[in-house]
């Protein structure tokens, strides 16, 4: 057998393949080394792995025309674009080219397989996080009543970031939220590494910055390519982060795994800002209520105190009144005793007086009577002594110069006047004989 030329051999191979193989196959493989050429054709490899070990791989082409329709269908169903690491179910035709060798042309890709595949991977990640106790680890933090110091992980140029910051800074209540951006890619192959590095930076500064929370936001832009938020490493980093993490990734489809592990999951950056501000509002409303209660309880306390003082005053007044009236009573009592004692005394005195009066009367009467009697006696005596009566009884009165003769010093020759009841006799003393 004479040797074949290379082209003869390759032709032989091509014919064999053409005869032996079906025109198309459905194959399952993982996309690797995915790249789009400037003309729009897409080249990649379909790989079969066991763990990290590559068991088989084959060069694959997806021509521009096919790629457009396949990619559009894939994205609308799965919400993500074709990319490395993705497991796909592809309809392929084996192609052999004498220069370029063996490759396959991809005719179609079944998006529902990838969707299921992604769901499976997602579930596996969730299961793993659950087993490792990471799923609600970040949720263990109790949020402070006011989340005021935050780090923002976002793309600086994203519309969502600008709106978010604006919403925080321009809030109509004048609340101040301290925020700082830690820029990160939010989609594409580098997104996970970029997000992890942003989180690392925040963690390294936490000692100094003492943040209340970290906010991961991604607003606006395409709804595609959220796979980075389903990544296990990102989820684990969020779960184990030392402060609460909020997500506002802004997507329509089911929650990403980042949402599941986050402390608080909100749909959009706007919702995150509203949530943060509502914490401020609630706290301030509580302050208002505290003030009201303070006011109420203070007033009540003062009222009670005033009442007590009033009661004291009333009691003091009543006691004083009572005391005064007791004193009055006792004074009246004494007065009436004095009065009755005085009356008694008066009565005794007047009795005494009466008896004295009576005594005086009776004694004066008897005195008068005695005087009367004496007078009468004297009268009688007087009557006896009356010179007339004496004279009538034969006695006479002899006077010398008007003086009774026994009182005068009669001498011989003196003229005597002798008085009888019915005559006056003048005589001259002849002789005086002394007894």
């Amino acid at each position: 057998m004479s040797p074949l030329s290379i082209s003869q051999l390759t032709e032989q191979i091509r014919l064999t393949l053409e005869n032996e193989l079906e025109p198309v196959y459905w194959v399952v493989g993982e996309l690797a080394d995915f790249r789009q050429a400037p003309q729009g054709h897409v080249y990649f490899e379909l790989v079969e792995k066991q763990g990290n070990q590559v068991l088989a791989k084959i060069r694959s082409n997806l021509w521009q025309f096919t790629y457009r329709s396949v990619a559009a269908k894939f994205e609308s169903v799965t919400g993500t674009s074709l990319k490395n690491g993705m497991k796909v179910l592809a309809q392929v035709a084996v192609n052999y080219h004498p220069v370029y060798g063996l490759s396959i042309n991809v005719k179609d890709i079944d998006p529902s397989f990838s969707l299921g595949e992604r769901a499976r991977i997602r579930q596996e990640t969730i299961n793993r996080l659950t087993q490792e106790g990471l799923l609600r680890l970040n949720a263990r933090f109790e949020l402070p009543p006011v989340v005021q110091r935050i780090a923002i992980v976002s793309s600086a140029t994203a519309a969502g970031y600008g709106d978010f910051v604006n919403q925080l800074d321009q809030n109509r209540y004048g609340y101040r939220v301290d925020h700082r951006l830690f820029p990160s890619l939010m989609q594409g192959n580098e997104a996970v590494a970029s997000l992890l590095s942003a989180l690392e930076k925040i963690k390294a500064e936490q000692e100094v910055s003492r943040l209340d929370a970290v906010v991961i936001i991604r607003g606006g832009g395409a709804q595609l390519d959220l796979d980075c938020f389903d990544d296990y490493r990102l989820a684990a980093a969020i779960a184990d982060f030392p402060v609460p993490i909020f997500t506002g990734i802004g997507h329509e489809r089911d929650e990403t795994i980042a949402d599941l592990v986050a402390h608080t999951r909100l749909k959009t950056p706007t919702a995150v800002a509203e949530f943060l501000l509502s914490g401020f509002r609630e706290f301030e409303e509580n302050l208002g209520m505290v003030l009201q209660r303070l006011d109420r309880s203070t007033r009540q306390q003062l009222r009670e105190e005033e009442n007590r003082i009033h009661q004291f005053a009333l009691r003091a007044k009543a006691l004083a009144n009572n005391r005064v009236s007791l004193e009055g009573e006792s004074i009246r009592n004494r007065m009436s005793r004095i009065e009755s004692a005085a009356k008694g005394l008066l009565k005794i005195q007047s009795l005494n007086l009466a008896s004295v009066e009576k005594g005086i009367k009776s004694s004066s009467a008897s005195f008068l009577h005695k005087q009367q009697e004496r007078l009468e006696n004297r009268e009688a005596l007087l009557r006896q002594l009356d010179p007339e009566s004496i004279l009538r009884r034969g006695y006479t009165r002899t006077e010398l110069g008007g003086i009774p003769v026994h009182l005068a010093k009669p001498a011989s020759g003196d003229e005597l006047l002798t008085i009888t009841p019915d005559s006056r006799i003048k005589s001259t003393i002849i002789q005086i004989d002394k007894k």
Binding site: P144, Q148, F283, R293, L294, Q300
Partner: protein, 62 residues
């Protein structure tokens, strides 16, 4: 006034309210407690609207 977190401030306010609502405080104590509570509310409101460094400056004299 020492730097307080919102949580601490609210806890202290609740504590003061509790004491007042029990109603067994003297008027002298009442006045001091009400003053403290009012300061806390003022502090919190200011803190909601400014950075901590602003706050520290504002309350330097208190």
């Amino acid at each position: 006034m020492k730097e307080q977190s919102y949580t601490e401030a609210m806890a202290r306010l609740e504590n003061i309210l509790g004491q007042l609502e029990e109603g067994n405080k003297s008027v002298d104590e009442l006045s001091a407690l009400v003053k403290e509570a009012a300061e806390l509310v003022k502090y919190c409101r200011a803190k909601l609207r400014s950075t901590e460094s602003d706050i520290q400056e504002a309350f330097q004299d208190i």
